[in-house]
């Protein structure tokens, strides 16, 4: 059977790169003795694949990996068993069954939600959130895309699907079912609510939320948006100034005329 595992990556684990996270899970699954299937041959490997690599330094509450299993316990039990083998900073948040004909996560990734906050000790500019608001409201946001052969101007505006300035309004905007998020994240959402009341006002710490096109068709990284923002107000882009955090990854079930984003988690079903 196919299953999809959702995990968070926080704290010091943000410094562990994608390939090492793959190795980490392979060993973790062996420790937990769950029934992952293996390829054939002299050096068999586990049949697992990740949705979208997360860059070193980024944190996330919704990373996904798909796996082939010969049997499974209930979602709740699987989460508990695997979490027994995790280190601080990696936590399994969900475990769902996929239909046998479902496409693997990597091939269907279409969008992702991020928060970008300015790290302690860094100042980007005065009134960061409002400045960003102005920047993102432009009709066109062109950046210079460099390839091996040429440089060309690209408009990234169509790939910025949503932006918001506190978590609760962002969740509403992207239609996130808050029941599925963890207690700790709910607490964060409540905190940002209390400071910003109902309207989408920026929190004092200067966090921005955005939904961006992600995946093999169109891929826009939040770092690139921040770089474009800095260029637009003529300040130097400092890649170390921001903490980028991934909140969700989506597939697009819509058609060419309309997007219909569904979180990778929601494509699976709970195992009772």
């Amino acid at each position: 059977m196919k299953a999809r595992l959702k995990f968070s990556k926080t704290g010091s684990m943000k410094f562990i790169g994608h390939l090492d996270i793959m190795r980490y899970f392979q060993k973790a699954f062996r420790r937990s003795e769950i029934a992952v299937e293996y390829s054939q041959g002299y050096s068999p490997h586990q049949l697992i694949s990740f949705a979208a690599p997360l860059g070193v330094g980024l944190t996330s509450e919704a990373e996904y990996l798909d796996m082939q299993l010969s049997e499974s316990l209930s979602s709740k039990k699987m989460i508990d068993i695997i979490n027994e083998t995790m280190v601080e900073g990696i936590n399994v948040e969900g475990f769902r069954a996929l239909s046998d004909d479902s496409k693997n996560a990597m091939s269907i990734v279409a969008a992702a939600d991020y928060s970008v906050s300015v790290k302690e000790g860094y100042i980007v500019c005065d009134d960061f959130a409002n400045q960003f608001k102005k920047f993102v409201m432009q009709d066109e946001i062109t950046i210079l895309k460099k390839s091996k052969k040429s440089e060309k101007e690209v408009d990234i505006k169509p790939f910025i699907y949503h932006t918001a300035y506190n978590r609760s309004s962002f969740d509403k905007m992207v239609d996130r079912n808050c029941d599925s998020i963890t207690v700790e994240q709910k607490k964060d959402a409540v905190d940002s609510n209390s400071t910003s009341v109902e309207q989408d006002k920026p929190t004092s710490s200067g966090v921005i939320f955005m939904q961006l096109a992600t995946g093999s068709v169109n891929n826009l990284k939040p770092e690139l948006v921040m770089e474009a923002f800095c260029n637009s107000i003529s300040i130097e882009y400092n890649p170390f100034a921001y903490q980028v955090h991934r909140i969700e990854i989506y597939a697009d079930l819509g058609d060419e005329s309309e997007r219909k984003l569904v979180s990778l988690q929601d494509l699976g079903t709970e195992i009772e």
Binding site: T10, G11, S12, M13, F15, I16, D20, R23, Y24, Q26, K27, A28, F29, R30, R31, E33, Y38, Y42, S43, P44, H45, V56, G57, T85, V87, E88, G89, K119, P239, F240, Q243
Partner: protein, 619 residues
């Protein structure tokens, strides 16, 4: 959540930040308020190397079983972080708590090879601990050395408060108890060192004085503290089946050199190769009970999730229950995709059967370590491997589908002549010729022979501890000569010849048999920028040449000088069990080209019997 010692910006700037953040699977966490002793264990090389070392994992587990002790780890920061830490004056920290090491009670440094000596100074310096023991005060950690190089600790004696000589399982507990008691009584650092000096196996170098003759050899080695005994006997764990062994070894987040479960099946070696220090200092052979090992294997595979298990010993083929253990591992774990790795295995029917079960024959290679090219020289070094055994083993393997062979040799062995060197080329060629006796249609493509030579470095506590080592020029000449002979062989196109750098070997030779005068040389070399000497891209030979000159020390005094049996050697105060008399007898037999039987064939009274166990009392 733990607060890291380094900022995000630094961690995102350096190569492989995982080297510095800890949080590995099975990392031990403790509540510091319940801890009396903070011990930091150091491997003075980069993280991926240090994390692969079994000894540290054993000690880490052993210390942390004590409720009053928290053992943490540190490795040499790589050159990129080293630079940043100096610029920003960041003190070196332990990776568990991320706390500065200078605030610890102990810093234990493992000494695995001579070329890490400048990295010891790096670790002390970055920790902001005075490099010389004489400059340390009550507020500084006690700096302990241990591991194979402590069998001649003299070149680094000035940097260590004490050395632990021998296997760690036996006396550390007593040492830590003494420390705790002294602390409780408000005792001083020097009072603790005196208590330590009274514990078996502990060497406190500052309690001894060395005087030299005009020719620079040692005049006398004397104790200047009544607590410091004149001879220090190595510590040894005789009950290896019932002692500390980590059932939950650490699993790093980045790929370490040794990314597998390591199962130490025995300690010591019965063979008695005359060049091999490990074969002498770890005597007698002590085997672990096979049932215990089966349980360890199961526990460790489960607790780590590793995909591979490797047997570790100096000569696995000599482990009595090897067949039982190997087939158990294959039957039990192979179905879970666990790979089984068997280094240091003699090639015979059994090993070929095992290898064909666990490896892809097309991708793997056979390894032989004849060490010398001629039977004459193999007799001199007491390497029991014959040409016939090599050729038969290779032929059996070729018939089973293998076509790649690796051969390891040494150049510069005592009594070596041109015929012996040429023998390396001839033997390489003979193996290729064997392969081509197989009818063409039955062959598995071309044969590939890779012959590697390293340079022989005489080591303390071996029968060759008195001999003259070849100079760099002589080594290079031998290498050129052999390369020429390789090119004359019929199958030269099938043979690849790999060689080593001579300059690094020369330095290793100096430190291996060096004395206390070298501490200053190492100190000056470090201050001139030497670090990571074992890494050829960082090895600064010219700096070393200069600091030897500046200190008026001729490196050839240590390497290219035949010592006589009467000379006081810097390491003579250590008793490793094997007697000097035995080593002298063995040296004489070497010159006479006489082989000596191994421990299972006959006891030759080497001295290890005094430990009252192991192979000496088998049967």
């Amino acid at each position: 959540m733990r607060k890291l010692a380094l900022s995000d910006e630094i961690l995102l700037t350096v190569e492989k930040p995982a080297r510095y953040i800890g949080n590995e699977v099975n990392m031990v966490k403790k509540d510091l308020s319940q801890i009396d002793i903070r011990f930091c264990m150091c491997f003075p090389d980069v993280y991926e190397i240090g994390m692969s070392h079994l000894g540290i994992q054993i000690l880490y587990d052993m210390f942390n079983r004590r409720e009053d002790t928290y053992c943490e780890r540190v490795y040499s920061p790589w050159v990129d972080l080293d630079k940043i830490m100096r610029e920003k004056n960041i003190p070196l920290f332990a990776i568990e708590s991320q706390d500065p090491i200078k605030d610890f009670d102990f810093l234990g440094i493992t000494l695995q090879y001579e070329m890490c000596y400048t990295n010891i100074l790096q670790v002390l310096d970055l920790s902001q601990i005075p490099v010389y023991t004489k400059d340390r005060t009550e507020e500084h950690p006690i700096v302990i050395g241990g591991g194979p190089c402590s069998y001649n600790p003299e070149p680094i004696a000035d940097f260590f408060d004490l050395f632990y000589l021998g296997e760690g399982e036996t006396k550390y507990s007593e040492l830590l108890d003494a420390y705790k008691e002294n602390k409780k009584n408000g005792g001083s650092r020097s009072e603790f060192l005196e208590m330590a000096a009274r514990i078996d196996g502990i060497y406190v170098p500052s309690f001894y004085e060395v005087s030299y003759k005009e020719d620079n050899t040692i005049e006398s080695f004397t104790s200047i503290n009544e607590n410091a005994p004149l001879t220090i006997k190595k510590e040894i764990e005789m009950n290896v089946s019932d002692t500390y062994y980590p059932q939950k070894p650490l699993v790093p987040h980045i790929k370490a050199t040794q990314d597998r479960v390591v199962l130490e099946i025995q300690r010591g070696c019965i063979r008695g190769c005359r060049f091999c220090q490990a074969g002498m200092i770890y005597r007698p052979v002590r085997e672990r009970d096979v049932e215990v090992l089966k349980e360890y294997a199961r526990n460790m595979l489960k607790s780590t999730g590793h995909e591979e298990i490797s047997l570790s010993s100096l000569s696995s083929s000599d482990y009595s229950a090897l067949k039982e253990l190997t087939y158990f591992l294959i039957d039990e774990f192979r179905k879970d995709g666990v790979n089984i790795s068997l280094p240091s295995l003699r090639i015979d029917a059994f090993s070929l059967d095992v290898m064909s079960k666990v490896q892809d024959v097309k991708k793997s290679s056979l390894t032989f370590a004849p060490e010398a090219g001629s039977q004459r020289l193999r007799d001199v070094i007491n390497k029991g491997l014959t040409e016939e055994a090599i050729l038969n083993g290779a032929m059996d393997a070729f018939n089973s589908g293998w076509n790649r062979v690796k051969l390891y040799f040494m150049l510069g062995l005592p009594t070596e002549n041109e015929e012996d060197i040429e023998g390396i080329a001839i033997l390489s060629d003979k193996i290729a010729r064997e392969y081509y006796t197989i009818p063409k249609e039955q062959r598995n493509g071309k044969v590939s022979i890779v012959s590697s030579t390293s340079f022989f470095v005489p080591k303390p506590f071996t029968p060759f501890q008195w001999v003259k080592m070849a100079t760099s020029e002589e080594f290079l000449e031998k290498q050129r000569f052999l390369n020429g002979k390789m090119r004359e062989q019929l199958n030269q196109k099938s043979i690849k010849y790999n060689w080593h750098e001579a300059e690094l070997t020369e330095l290793e030779g100096v430190f291996a048999r060096g004395d206390r005068k070298l501490s200053k040389v190492i100190y000056d070399a470090y201050n001139s920028g030497c670090m990571y000497d074992a890494w050829s891209e960082h090895f600064k030979y010219d700096n070393w040449v200069k600091v030897f000159e500046d200190n008026g020390i001729d490196p050839l005094f240590y390497t290219s000088r035949e010592r006589d049996f009467e000379e006081i050697l810097p390491w003579d105060f250590i008793d490793v069990g094997v007697t000097k008399d035995f080593l002298q007898r063995e040296y004489k037999r070497a010159v006479e080209e006489k082989v000596t039987p191994n421990c299972r064939q006959a006891c030759v009274n080497c001295g290890a019997k005094q430990f009252e166990g192991g192979v000496c009392f088998e049967g």
